[in-house]
Symmetry: D4
Subunit: 255 residues, 8 copies
């Protein structure tokens, strides 16, 4: 039942066309109908700028293109993650202005004119092999409307590389730290900043890294207090949360 239908029901009641008992019966089911939530979802789009994201693995290029088309009929923006070039080609056919961020494996159809918050998001990564996940985080945050900087390949085995760029660390409003192997970078960055750090363990490593488990456990046990963690290789999730944080207060002022 959508708002219009509800308004009609109420009007019928006011006008005597519907009895109170009939209205009660119809309303009894309301908690399980779509009225309120549709509002909520519109809310979400208004505030974050992104109502819907497509996870491409297991979907055919054609399926991704179809979902994109359907979503764009309602919203101005779409983000598709873990997309390969075949997915992109299919989307291009229905949406010629779609962009493909290859290193991040992301297809984006987004408004470029969104006002950006002042705060900057910084994506820090440990090694060159962590790049795809770091890029997924970076592009996600950027497409959702943030100023994003990056500081790649600054693993703790050569900690001076990180310290040389300390200004970037000090200036960021939200930080994303992407690291595989032992994941120590999250703790070191967490100790340098007083802003929230989103840690992303990656599956980079071999042997006892157990597909990212070593980095995941390390990050969960970080001795730095401002560190929280998302799933292994979940660059998208980190970029998404970072954007939510970076829109704090800003967004409240807008709604």
């Amino acid at each position: 039942m959508n708002p219009d239908a509800l308004r009609k029901l109420l009007a019928g009641l006011r006008d005597g066309d519907v009895s109170i008992d009939d209205a009660l019966e119809r309303l009894r089911r309301l908690p399980f109908e779509d009225l309120g939530f549709a509002t909520v979802d519109t809310h979400r789009a208004l505030r974050c700028g992104f109502p819907e994201v497509i996870f491409c693995p297991g979907k055919t290029p054609q399926q991704v293109a179809t979902i994109t088309e359907r979503l764009l009929a309602h919203d101005a923006e779409v983000l598709a993650t873990r997309a390969d070039r075949a997915h992109y080609d299919a989307v291009l056919a229905v949406r010629p202005d779609a962009e493909y961020h290859e290193a991040a494996r992301i297809i984006a159809c987004n408004r470029k004119d969104k006002p950006l918050p002042e705060g900057r998001v910084l994506v820090v990564s440990a090694g060159t092999s962590d790049a795809p996940v770091a890029e997924e985080a970076r592009v996600t945050a950027e497409v959702m409307g943030n100023r994003v900087d990056k500081l790649y390949d600054v693993g703790v085995a050569g900690i001076h590389r990180l310290l040389q760029q300390a200004d970037h660390v000090f200036d960021a409003n939200v930080l994303i730290v992407v690291a595989g192997m032992e994941g120590a970078l999250a703790s070191v960055v967490g100790g340098l900043t007083s802003r929230p750090v989103i840690a992303v363990p990656t599956s980079i490593g071999y042997g006892a890294s157990f597909g990212g488990l070593a980095a995941l456990l390390a990050m969960l046990n970080s001795c730095a207090s401002g560190v929280c963690v998302v799933n292994i290789d979940n660059g998208f999730g980190a970029g998404y949360i970072a954007s939510l944080i970076n829109h704090t207060n800003i967004s409240d002022a807008q709604t």
Copy 2:
């Protein structure tokens, strides 16, 4: 917002005391209010006979007694699991007719006059150490209104003990199999019956039983098709589900 309040709102709308927009605004929040669900909860009590269960560990005897009292103000029945004698003593003070099933560690205040379904629930257990969990399952099912039989200490290392009692296995409508160590009993019973089997792994065992993990994995991988599994040592859950299954059709007829 309860049904009466809603009826009043609708009357106000019909009578012109409330505008459509005001009504809409109030109804917009309805999906998150209590209207429908209260109905559901009453439903539950009507059909299963047990609206609320108290998990005693971590609660003081006085807390358990207080919750019991509060629940009995609304419902006719209460079940408290993992209760020790101190919990019982406290409950006795507020409810002199409460019963304590010591081996099952259950306190029950339940109606004795419920009609029982024809089908029988059978609790099968592997070893004497599995008894507390088996009893928790048995008493739970009984208090919820079922005819329950038991067949204890029939582990597969002496499979004739089980086969000698095959009549019980054939006659049961729902079966609960409680076993620790390697949990093989669930598969053997599952192969003998064509009725649903609820398997309960117990933490009985040592070394590589890893607190019941061995039995849990074994039961999840059962080669018999009609076996489903609950948490380690969760005798209550097994008894509860067995009762839900055993009331199938019976309960439909009642609502």
Copy 3:
């Protein structure tokens, strides 16, 4: 020793052709012979409608076809799971009326005229990627003789999609919940219904989902009382148990 042979032995004893000691000696081995169990197995087919299921992985199309033929010589029905099209083509050659449920990966040769129980089975799934497992559950229950509804793609991140369809949830006699990732859907559905819920964790997810382990553990620890669990991706098992539950009382009346 089959019943005929046994009857002949007993007749020989009655007629004096066999001595008591000889009969005793032959009967001493009886617990390990086929007499009673054959009866049991026939029993099973009568009650559940499905005496035998073929698990296709690791079997050649020809092997599946051969087993199908052999089974159909004795029984009226066959179900083959995890079948691909090659398996189906081979089965078609020996059984032209076999059906292939592609999304469910099931080949079925089943009687269409079985009486169906009144109760309905509802298959609920969280995401589009869970569809193959959900379909396996749905088709299994259907082929075994049940009215089955489905409610797909109602994951808890957008819980209104589930609540909008609450009627389906309330009306079902047995529910199957199929979910990967964090498996939270089982607990939410378990909290809405007072009927048994069979939870099926799927291997959908990445990183710390560890092939379905996260969903499995979540479902075993469900805070809703009426939830039991089958193996990861075991849609067939869930459909099978749901059918056993749904035939409760119905089947007792038939035997």
Copy 4:
């Protein structure tokens, strides 16, 4: 080397009392001395309001009191977590105005006159047993200078309890979700809000909860996009990060 000593060295150089080579030699070691970082640490205190936190387990009451005294000599505020009453009594002796939040197990000596950000932090918890962790999160956020609301005992097995309070969920700027067992509450809350959610798995549960592992994995695999996770039972960490997020932009304006 502190700023004063450095200023003196530079003055000596300007005045010709120190040669360039001597100054170079002393400065060569600067990257490993305390100059810059002391500034950073003061920075931290200025922005977050809390320069230092004491983790009490394994420390004697006297040790906690001594550290408190030493810290208060430099800063206006101290927070001690997982403290028992004996720790508090020892702290009271040196700091009569220290407060003890018993359910949260926190000792706090904090300024009450800090300006609070507009945004509210909401702590949501699943069961009564999760209360100590939830309280640790709540008190931490409060003492660090935030308006904090709570919504306890709204586990997903009775999801209407949560939905009835949806206003709280909609109004919060940052959310902390505390849940043990299957941890499903994080996903449901994450699906209702468009603000960041900090999920805290607790060790509440038994059997296959494996000390909180089940809830931890579930939360890491949440199908809701805005959820990040801290260590099992780490209520303090969640409150700390929530405060960092809630001070976003606000705090920038202050420095």
Copy 5:
């Protein structure tokens, strides 16, 4: 149904007092009755010398004494494992000639006049802390009627201690190797002998021994071919199997 009852049934059939159909009906249930298996169990006692073993943990001294009494009414021998002195005192009251092997934590009431096989069982252990498990294995094998030697404290960090006693290793007919920590001793002994080796991992160790898991995995992966493994700390099981092996052929000649 025991043999006498069966003989009576057959006589009734022969004499015309029982019809073939009645006999068939009664015999149909035979696979699930006790006829054959009772024989099997007697068989077991005859061949192995031990019909029943009591696992003491979780049983009161009185329970152990009662079970002992009941078992001795039928058999000449009883073995109780993991027994403490209180168990022993209770058993002594009902059976004054019971012996207590303190280091092995075993109570034994056994015949001393059994003929022993020629072959010798050798129990090898790695460290002094493994002694309780090693003794449990040694006493079990001894009480079941075997000549048992021991070679303790010969861990591989000082492999000469083992090699100096190589004669014992060469002379043994069956070997039991008890080791915690890294469990390497099983592979070394397995490489020295051409007789079967029963490896018993112990829970001795700390840190990454994970309660015996390290030794268990090591032994399962032994590069020596003749090594099989029992559960962690299962000295009894190792002694039992070693005795079965050592009675090979010997025992066949006896039955």
Copy 6:
């Protein structure tokens, strides 16, 4: 240093050509030279009939052929496990009488005229998918010189299939039980026999079987006392140990 060289050294000492100190110096290193162990190895071949086994995975066909040739130069027999047909073709080129057991994936060049022990080895397996491992065990035991029976496809979900063949179980001197999934068959067989049971978990299964871990843990925790366990899928190891056990006493008489 071989025996001849040692004899020469001793003769030189006796004849005064070598001083005691020189001899001592040379003998000091003896513990680390090959004298005694060569004897041991010959011993092994004499007693078990198989001095060396080739594990084929990771070896080229040519490498397997070369090792075979080299081994046959010293011994009469060779066994190569996990061999594919390409390995066999290469071996055939150097050894035309080599045999290939396809289902067991074993290449064997063995003496056919070995005297066999009286006792029989029985290989029991649960499902058709366990066949390759069961065959590896069976052929290994056979080639090492044993009478071997098999009892396949008798999983516990249809336990009558096993009980119908109880004679085989009773008659066996050593039993090998091969099972994946929940591995319950080992416990059931262990409860029927009083002879040693070698349990082989297989990696057959899916989901929570975790590559055979479920069956492995189940078998280690077997409630039947005479069960020991080898590595997952290690059919060769089981056949090898079964042969060692079956040659007990027999072999002692031969040496």
Copy 7:
């Protein structure tokens, strides 16, 4: 800021061109600039002989060649691990004197004229399948400037193979032990020598070796005191640490 820039700043201060406040401001950032660390890195190259190592997996041949070229512009030496022949061909094009160690999968461009320490590194391995990891360790140590011996295929199942070569074990200054399966070799070698042992678990094995976990845990729990461990299959790391140890004191004398 490099030393020259710093000298210039100090001269400006001395000459009155820079105020003390300006100098302070610039120096405040020094802890995060490159001054000291560049020195450290040169230090490293001077002492160990290897400033940089390329991990090839995931890099294209062209990328490896480009990195090699860039590194050689600054240093005299490069080591690339886990390289295949395609990587080597690309490197050859830019550096014709590069060498490829095929079994070790290492490309090396190294000075041959480095002075070698007196001490010898010994690489011991258990089985033929461990060779690639052992070779990686051996070549790494050799290229870094060490005398390296090897002792391969001396697993503990035939411990005489190791003891026959005890001289090598006694003579080594540092030992690397490479073993899969149960990893027992590390403990045995650790018990024979009084020099440090670097243990490298390999992923060789199947079933319950769990990709090298069994060997890893065994080595961490070694009963021999002088054993430390690196990651599974990390031959490079072991060779690198062995070289650091072997250059002890030697290198101190050089700096």
Copy 8:
């Protein structure tokens, strides 16, 4: 057979009192006798300074005192780890000059006049709770004859504390890094030094630290090349290996 007995045997052979065959027979068993290894063990004591270490847990004070006495009869030094004060009191009774290092839980009876190598051992620890393990490492290295420095409480969350002490890190010849929680300190220290780093994970932490597993995995996956790892909480092992490394070349020169 000790050297004297061997010399006597050889003299008997030279003098014609023993035949060559008799000598051969006695020598055939030599590989398994004590000749060579006794020498090795003396060797060990000479080079490392510590022939034997007592692990106290599970031993009574009297047992520790007795072993101490027996060891001191042969050697000048004893080290007992994980000792409590009761152990110390018992040792004092037999050895009044024994010392007790309380924080390290070590009892030592050691020569104070050993020459020390020039190189220094540095023990670095992350948090105050890691102190007992760090002290165990420090005291072990000191008692074995090394100059040892310590740098405690320099966890990476405040990395300036470590960098301020960089001189100590640069000056050390061998480093021990002790850290619980996420264990990141090992990687940071490993990146600062070009000397070997022994990493000791501790069981400090809670929740997903899983008793030290998080730190252990992190250290095994360290991105710094010169890091090797010992068992969780194994401070003694780290001190022991550090001493072996620190005596490199020095010790060779001494023997």
